[in-house]
Symmetry: C2
Subunit: 402 residues, 2 copies
């Protein structure tokens, strides 16, 4: 095992908070593998790079010799984590939960080292609790403490209803920490309250409390808002290699280091070098971005797919002289067909729909380098989504769904 200082340098890379850092050092000083908890509620089937951020950090911990317990929250999913929400989650059926869990596990093991991971399901202990167990558990928490949570206190202040069963969520997921005897619990920034509840409960039950490590929310490909399906700025873990590569190439340069630290399998040493190199201009952003895109594609597919994706990217972009870092333009792509002329007009690539139609008819409009035929003002969704729309010689937009 590396020294405590070396481990701390790696662990701290990219994290938001370690609460408390001194306790983490103490645990590391024991020179024994720590048990790192990640609890996941399989409420959504598809994961994106943002979801994978804590998984990446856990993989680093595994590479340092530690152990991961991945808790599939098929028990807590009966409530649905209210973190950061302003309304009660609709309940999932157990079939949905099981299906989502399966997808999640497959995707998680693209990042985690399976040989150093225990996969457990919290329904196994939570659904066996009876009223007496639950009263004992909840008696360790006060109403005021739970109501302090940002999302709950906001909802309470704004008179948005909080269903009483949501109040039980933090206590149940805290109990998971007791059950697996966690040394560390990992989570997103918005999970800090839940993580601290686990810490409090372990103390109340005379156990050595877990250390909480939170990871920041990763920005989406726009580099501005958090990565989210609803903002259409996400890279799904199941994206095809070419899509994934193209999306990473489209992130702003100032996101390169962040993605390297939070979303890639690059070592902390590499990330440190990239950060320094970009700062003193000894490294070119485009080159680094290509390495980053290859790295990420290789995690979720494989090395060959990464090489092929880059080749495809070059064939398409270089051949058609499309710049590497085309801006995205979001448009409503629902409905039977998409009105291409309106996209061109709305994206300010033409002054009006009329002009857009004339440009199409004149052969000046291309999709991924291929000219659109005369009179084709409407196209299928597949023909345009995630493709580069080119008008004239210098106007390019990557069209994404709104």
């Amino acid at each position: 095992m590396l020294s405590v200082d070396e481990q701390m340098h790696i662990i701290k890379s990219g994290v938001s908070q370690i609460v408390p850092e001194a306790e983490l050092r103490k645990k590391l000083e024991r020179k024994e593998p720590l048990n790192v908890k990640l609890g996941v509620d399989p409420t959504a089937p598809d994961l994106h790079l943002g979801h994978a951020v804590p998984l990446r950090k856990m993989r680093q911990l595994q590479d340092l010799g530690h152990h991961v317990t991945l808790i599939i929250g098929n028990g807590t999913a009966l409530i649905g984590d209210p973190s950061g929400r302003n309304s009660t989650r609709p309940p999932l059926t157990s079939a949905q939960i099981a299906e989502n869990a399966q997808t999640y596990i497959e995707q998680a093991f693209k990042v985690l080292d399976e040989s150093k991971t225990d996969l457990v399901y919290n329904a196994d202990w939570l659904l066996k609790m009876n009223l007496e167990d639950l009263l004992g558990l909840t008696s360790n928490f006060t109403v005021a403490r739970i109501l302090e949570r940002d999302d709950f206190s906001n909802r309470y202040k704004n008179q948005q209803s909080i269903s009483l069963h949501e109040f039980l969520y933090p206590t149940l997921q805290a109990y998971d920490s007791v059950k697996i005897k966690a040394d560390i619990e990992m989570g997103g920034n918005d999970q800090l309250f839940n993580l601290l509840a686990g810490r409090d409960l372990m103390s109340a039950m005379d156990m050595e409390p877990q250390v909480c490590i939170t990871m920041p929310l990763l920005e989406g490909t726009d580099g501005v808002r958090k990565m989210s399906k609803s903002y259409k700025n996400y890279v799904a873990l199941t994206d095809e290699p070419s899509d994934m590569f193209g999306k990473i190439m489209s992130i702003p340069d100032d996101m390169i280091v962040r993605y390297a630290r939070l979303a890639s399998s690059m070592s902390v040493e590499e990330a440190d070098k990239i950060e320094a190199g970009l700062k003193d201009d000894s490294l070119h952003p485009n080159k680094v971005k290509r390495a980053l895109a290859r790295n990420i594609v290789a995690i979720y597919h494989d090395e060959q797919a990464a090489i092929d994706a880059e080749a495809n990217f070059d064939a398409l972009f270089k051949e058609h002289q499309i710049p590497d870092d085309v801006e995205e333009f979001a448009f409503d792509l629902s409905g039977d067909e998409v009105y291409l002329a309106k996209i061109i007009s709305d994206a300010k690539m033409a002054s009006s729909i009329g002009e857009a139609r004339r440009l199409i008819d004149g052969g000046g409009v291309r999709i991924d380098g291929e000219a659109v035929e005369k009179g084709v003002y409407n196209v299928e969704r597949e023909a345009i989504e995630n493709k580069v729309l080119q008008v004239g010689k210098r106007k390019y937009k990557r069209i994404v769904a709104l």
Copy 2:
């Protein structure tokens, strides 16, 4: 069965609130026995006349042909009803709960008609609930609604901690109403919130909601503060006949009608007559009080005990020319012996302890009519508690423990 109007006249006698009255009339119009719920948490072993107020009302309902379901809250007792409390109740062991429940039942059946009562234990269904059941149940309530409860909102405002398990109390006791399909739930004034929670839950579960009937808190023998062990102004249901008779005789005259309505087995018609008779002076308070005292002793002992208690009372009071309605004086009776001279002085029956000792030595001090011997300034607790202390010819106090 009596007509709806006749029943309503009897039911309304002495009650605080019927929520809502129109629904109660509708239920009565069906001319079928209604199911009246009383939930009791066996948290205290000894009952007094104040506790018996809802029981008396239920007995009236039984006499009208209705049915009672008495729920022993051996499940909810694991929490302890937080109603009206400003701190979390200390948990009871199941042995304590079982013992208290036994005492409660024995005492309750001195009032209730056993042939028209179902005795059930809510541990039978509550302790069988698992997490999923509990989440389903609690999802019918909002945090804001529970926090509206006076005691909870006061504790929250005053930063007195509310343990999360206390928050579950109203939902669990509400579930009891669903389980037994209550038509009416009976409770003290301080129980209205809990009773309404039962009503809400039944509506949420598409059942005909129960009507809530609350009873006022009975004043103690001082006629001022609510009857309570802590105020030493209570008549225990297990008090000896003579003590019980004496205590009732000591209540202020303006409490006679209230005790008749809330604590006796007198019919509503009788209580109405007493109220009218005392108003127009056609009845003498002392005579009515005697009838009331006999009635109450007969409920908790028997007719003969009531007659004997009155005879004892007369023997003692008439013989020693002690007035019937001696005021109480409360004094700290703890410790090995009680300093009688100090009681006399503190009760303003002498101007100083020195004078009190001189009065004792002169033979001018009596306890229940018997002169205290010269030089006896200290007495055993038993020799003075609940006894009438007389100084000179006209000063009397009944001494009770502080």
